[in-house]
Every structure is written in structure tokens, then in C-alpha cells.
């Protein structure tokens, strides 16, 4: 059965009395674990550290051999120079527009479809759901080229429409996630509303959606991160540099100014920080969302 694995953590409860020395063994185990975890944490964190440090390093420090890890002088020149050649504000605006509109599309359409699949029993429901799921198996590169020619013939290339419009027709992965969540909502709640004369649209909007806020938040977050990170989509459809997103802009910036490392690090830092801030604010939803996707066979 498709059960969503949100199992609470089981505290280790010893069934029988532990032998002498187990305590000591546990202590050693923990010390070793901490040592390993700290080393790995440093390895994982160094690239970020290096990026942020690099963004405030002077040109002189950059040229020094061996590499300067902790610069004595801190400069914001890189940010000033970076902002002059890299229209950060404009790209940020474009990215936020794209993230916002696809978030609305993905959350509205996916929850709408998921409601039908989870809460209404009708002939053809299983067929639609299975078809929808199996499209997740179709690799993006199969549909990528014909979609481009299709959108080109519709005159949509160069605009954000090819990136936004499809999200208004349901994102299969999100439909799946929300369907699982909606099914876990007790039917008494919707039955009561139904007896009171509410139709399905009203139940969806006024009963189910308010109850599903955590799942909707997870979907919105996933979509935000996806769009914020997506390179291939904007790269294919957007050719006018005024409409670049941060991801595409940064890539072209790297191509043109590959020697100005400091400003590049400044731009990268400016792109990474907002995401990390969002992550820290919404970490709970996020981990929950990831866990929701871990489906037992």
C-alpha cells in the first residue's frame, strides 16, 4: 500500500538491562560520530565559506599563492563592481515574478486536481491518476524539443508563458503529493459540509485547502526552489537579456567575465543567501515535504 512515511522517531528503549560497559561504549560511539560529523560538516560548508570570503577578498589577496583563507582586509568592491556589470535587481525581479506566478499555478492547479482524485469517487479516476503518474517517468528531454517548436509557433518564445502556463495544468509530482495528503483528512469533515449543502467546489476551497496548509506550503516551496534554480527552461525560452533570470544571468556573467572571480563570488553569494534565509525560516515544512515524497512500495 502507498503509505506516506511520516513515522515519528522511535526512541531507543532498551528491552533488557544493558551490560556493564555499554555506557562507555556509547560514549565512545558518540565521540567518534561527532568527530566524523564535524569533519564532514566542514567539508560540506567550505564551498560556502570560500564563496562568501571570496566575495569580500581584495584583488591582491586573490592573486596570492598559496590561497588566502582568512583575508586581513575586507572589501566590498566586488559587490559594487558586480552590481555595475550584473543587473542583479532586474534579474531578481524577473526571477521573483516567475517564482511567484508558477507557485500560484502549481499550488492552485495541483490541489484542484488532487481534490478530484482523492475525494471524489468517479469512473475513470484511477486511469487518470495512473496516466498522470506515468508521465513522471517520461524524461524531460523527450518533450523538450517539440514543446519548444509548439510554443514558438504560438509566438510564446521570448516570454515567460512557456514557463508559467504549464504549471496551471497540474504538476504530476505535486498532484501525487497532495492527493496522498488529502486522503489522510477524515471524511467526517467533508461529509458534514456536504450535508450542510456545500458543493464540491466549496468543500475544496473552504474545508480541504485550509486543512492542507502544511502540504500546500511544501508544494509552494518546492516550486519556488525549482524555479529559482532552473537553468534549462529560461535558457531555452528567454533570449532577451533584459528578461534573464538570476540563474541564466549568472551563467552568462561567468562566460563573459570569467577572470573577475571576486565579483562572480559576490553575485553567487547574493543569489544563494535569499534561498538559505527562506530555508531557515521554512525548514520544518521543507523536511516534511521531502519526507512526504519518501513513499513505501
Amino acid at each position: 500500500m502507498a503509505s506516506v512515511t511520516a513515522t515519528p522517531t522511535i526512541a531507543p528503549t532498551p528491552l533488557r538491562a544493558r551490560k556493564k560497559g555499554t555506557r562507555w561504549a556509547r560514549f565512545v560511539e558518540h565521540v567518534v560520530a561527532h568527530a566524523v560529523l564535524i569533519v564532514i560538516s566542514i567539508v560540506f560548508f567550505v564551498p560556502f565559506f570560500w564563496m562568501v570570503v571570496g566575495s569580500v577578498k581584495t584583488l591582491g589577496d586573490w592573486a596570492r599563492v598559496p590561497v588566502v583563507w582568512f583575508p586581513h582586509t575586507i572589501t566590498f568592491e566586488n559587490y559594487i563592481y558586480g552590481l555595475r556589470v550584473f543587473p542583479f535587481g532586474r534579474y531578481l525581479f524577473n526571477t521573483v515574478i516567475l517564482c511567484g506566478s508558477t507557485m500560484i499555478g502549481a499550488v492552485l492547479s495541483s490541489s484542484f486536481i488532487a481534490y478530484g482524485l482523492a475525494r471524489i469517487e468517479f469512473p475513470g479516476r484511477t486511469a487518470i491518476f495512473v496516466t498522470l503518474l506515468s508521465t513522471m517517468m517520461v524524461p524531460y528531454f523527450v518533450t523538450m524539443v517539440p514543446l519548444f517548436t509548439l510554443f514558438r509557433s504560438m509566438g510564446w518564445t521570448g516570454t515567460y508563458a512557456p514557463l508559467i502556463v504549464p504549471t496551471f495544468f497540474g504538476v504530476p509530482f505535486f498532484v501525487f503529493l497532495l492527493r496522498q495528503f488529502f486522503r489522510s483528512i477524515p471524511s467526517e469533515l467533508t461529509e458534514a459540509a456536504r450535508i450542510d449543502g456545500a458543493n464540491e467546489l466549496r468543500i475544496y476551497w473552504q474545508v480541504i485547502l485550509p486543512l492542507a496548509k502544511p502540504a500546500l506550503a511544501a508544494v509552494a516551496l518546492f516550486q519556488y526552489l525549482f524555479m529559482w534554480n532552473d537553468l534549462l527552461g529560461p535558457l531555452i525560452y528567454i533570449s532577451n537579456s533584459d528578461r534573464y533570470t538570476l540563474a541564466v544571468g549568472l551563467m552568462f556573467f561567468k562566460n563573459q567575465y570569467s577572470t573577475s572571480i571576486g565579483p562572480m563570488m559576490a553575485a553567487s553569494t547574493a543569489m544563494v543567501l535569499p534561498v538559505i534565509v527562506v530555508f531557515f525560516l521554512a525548514q520544518r515544512y521543507f523536511i516534511q515535504g521531502i519526507t512526504l515524497t519518501g513513499v513505501k512500495g
Binding site: M1, A2, T5, T7, I10, R16, E29, H30, H34, L37, I40, F44, F45, P47, F48, M51, G54, W62, P66, V67, W69, S109, I113, G116, L117, I120, F122, P123, R125, T126, I128, T131, T135, M137, V138, P139, F141, V142, T143, V145, P146, L150, P166, F169, Y204, N229, L231, L232, K254, S258, M264, S268, V272, V275, F279, Q283, I287, I290, G294, G297
Partner: protein, 318 residues
């Protein structure tokens, strides 16, 4: 997995479907269709149509610049068969599949096991390990492209301090693929979280009983943890294998001066070569033939993995 789980067979109802529908059933049907209509339109518009057109294009000489498109039968496929770059792109993709996927799973499992020891500051470590996954990919690849730099980069600096000869990660054709693997391992966060969730299903009392019976760490790992985790590991394996065929941003940005191919095409992956053909050379027909070959390869790999690995998976519930 998910597909099988989704289909809820209702044979009794299907048989009764011949009878005229009751008013409730009719009403439910129309409500259901209303709610599913965006999905149906989306499926036809953004999936079914492109798939069919892709198949059709693969038999034509369609290019985005020329105007004379005609049916050329299997020519695209024949040319593809003799295309050296195509074969090296496949070879590189298989290299990534053999190294990045299994090593990534093992690495993610080790991280998950360490976090699962219920040590203090667990959530702190988890956040650190997860940061690379949420950091915008392009930005982190840009940062890494300088980390790999032999002169300015930290990686070679560390290696030099350890008295290891530092390779030219992005310039030496022999080191470009390992560079991609190293970058890939840095981003195993998602997998780690999923495996960490899976670890919660390994029964603690079974572990304790084995411990009392004198089973060592590795023996417990092998006979208890891994079997209970096997559905998750299979999920990781299948999604990992499929993802490699769509691996695009890291090679494309890391080797942006060669449109993602790397020095001497040493890092060209099938996804990048497909992109080049479609959007750099504008060979739509040729790229479509490539897409279909890859589609078939992915499908075969998925089925084979299910057959040979899926058989060994242990489902605790059933």
C-alpha cells in the same frame, strides 16, 4: 512502485458499470471530470502531443532554421549510430551512472546512519548537509568552478597541503568526470533525508536483540538495516539512474566555455549533447531521434533494475 500502489482495483463496480448510472454517480462523474480537467488538458497539451511529435520529428529532416522538412525514414537513427560524439556522450553518461549513483547512495546512507545515531545537534548537522541541495545550483556550480581551479581553488590548495599532486580538474580530460562526481556527492542532501526517513522504519528492538546476541555493527547493518531499507534504496537507485540522463546544469555551467562538453568532449553527457543538437545546431529531427534512443535506454535500464534488484527488496509490511 507508486503506480502499482495507485491502482485500486474495483472489479465489482466495473461489472455493474453497465447498468444505468444513478443520479449520484452521474453527479460524481461530472464533478470528478471538472476537477481533473486541467490535468487532462495538460496531459494532452504538454505530454501526449509533444511525445507524438517528437517521434514524428525523429523521422524527418526538420531543422529550426531551414524550411524544407521532409520524411527521411530512419536516416537520423542511422547517422546517430555512426556519430562518435553520441557514443562518447553515452559512455560518459554510463560512467556517471556507475560512479555517481552507487557512490552517492552509499555516501547518503552513511550520512543518514550517522545522523540516526541520535547524537546531539543532529538538526544542526542535518541542516549543514542539506545546504548544498537548496543552494541555487548555478550559483554553487559557479563557485565550484573556481574551487576546482588549480591556482585559485581551495580544493587543490588542500591537496597540496596534504602533499598530493593537484590535478587540473576542469582542464585535464582525465579529471573532468571525477570533478562532476565530486560535485554531485556534495549535493546528496535530498537522498540523505529520504534515507533518514527510511531508517526510522528499522525496528529498534530487532537491532537491540541482535546486539545482545553479539552481532557487530557491520553484521547488523547487513542483515537488519539494509534489508529494511531496501525499498528506499531501490527508490534511490531508480530515480538516480533516471536523473543521470537529465543531468544538465552542473556540466553545462562547469564547462560553459565549451557549451557543456568539457575539454576534448571529455565530459559531454547525453543530455548536453541533445541540448547542443536541438538549441545550438537547431537539428530538431536529429535531436528527437536522440531523445527516443535515450528514452528507450532509460526504460530498459529501469526495467532491468526492477527485475534484478527489485527482486531482492524486502517489504516489511507485506
Amino acid at each position: 512502485m507508486t503506480i502499482a500502489a495507485a491502482s485500486v482495483p474495483t472489479p465489482a463496480k466495473a461489472k455493474r458499470g453497465r447498468q444505468p448510472w444513478t443520479a449520484k454517480k452521474k453527479r460524481d462523474f461530472w464533478w470528478g471530470m471538472l476537477f481533473c480537467s486541467p490535468a487532462i488538458i495538460g496531459l494532452l497539451w504538454f505530454t501526449a502531443y509533444p511525445i507524438l511529435m517528437s517521434l514524428y520529428y525523429s523521422f524527418t529532416s526538420y531543422t529550426m532554421v531551414g524550411h524544407n522538412t521532409h520524411w527521411i525514414g530512419l536516416t537520423n537513427y542511422r547517422v546517430l549510430f555512426h556519430d562518435g560524439t553520441w557514443w562518447s556522450s553515452l559512455q560518459n553518461t554510463f560512467y556517471m551512472m556507475l560512479f555517481l549513483v552507487p557512490v552517492g547512495i552509499i555516501f547518503a546512507l552513511i550520512l543518514a546512519l550517522l545522523l540516526n545515531l541520535k547524537v546531539r545537534f543532529q538538526s544542526f548537522y542535518r541542516t549543514i548537509f542539506y545546504l548544498p541541495t537548496i543552494a541555487p545550483l548555478v550559483a554553487s556550480v559557479v563557485a565550484w568552478s573556481y574551487i576546482f581551479d588549480p591556482q585559485f581553488g581551495v580544493l587543490d590548495d588542500v591537496l597540496r597541503r596534504l602533499h598530493v599532486t593537484a590535478p587540473g580538474w576542469l582542464t585535464d580530460p582525465g579529471w573532468t568526470k571525477p570533478a562532476l562526481v565530486v560535485f554531485g556527492l556534495w549535493g546528496v542532501g535530498n537522498l540523505m533525508i529520504i534515507l533518514l526517513a527510511g531508517l526510522q522504519e528499522v525496528p529498534v528492538d530487532l537491532q537491540d536483540a541482535a546486539k545482545v546476541d553479539g552481532a557487530g555493527v557491520f553484521s547488523r547493518l547487513r542483515h537488519i538495516t539494509v534489508p529494511f531499507m531496501s525499498p528506499y534504496l531501490l527508490f534511490a537507485l531508480i530515480t538516480g539512474l533516471i536523473a543521470i540522463f537529465q543531468y544538465f546544469t552542473p556540466p553545462y555551467v562547469l564547462f560553459s566555455s565549451t557549451t557543456g562538453a568539457g575539454p576534448a568532449n571529455s565530459a559531454i553527457l547525453s543530455s548536453v549533447y541533445l541540448y547542443q543538437n536541438a538549441f545550438v545546431f537547431f537539428k530538431v529531427g536529429y535531436a528527437s531521434a536522440m531523445a527516443w534512443c535515450l528514452f528507450v535506454i532509460v526504460a530498459v535500464i529501469t526495467v532491468v533494475t526492477f527485475r534484478f534488484v527489485g527482486r531482492r527488496v524486502y517489504y516489511a509490511g507485506s
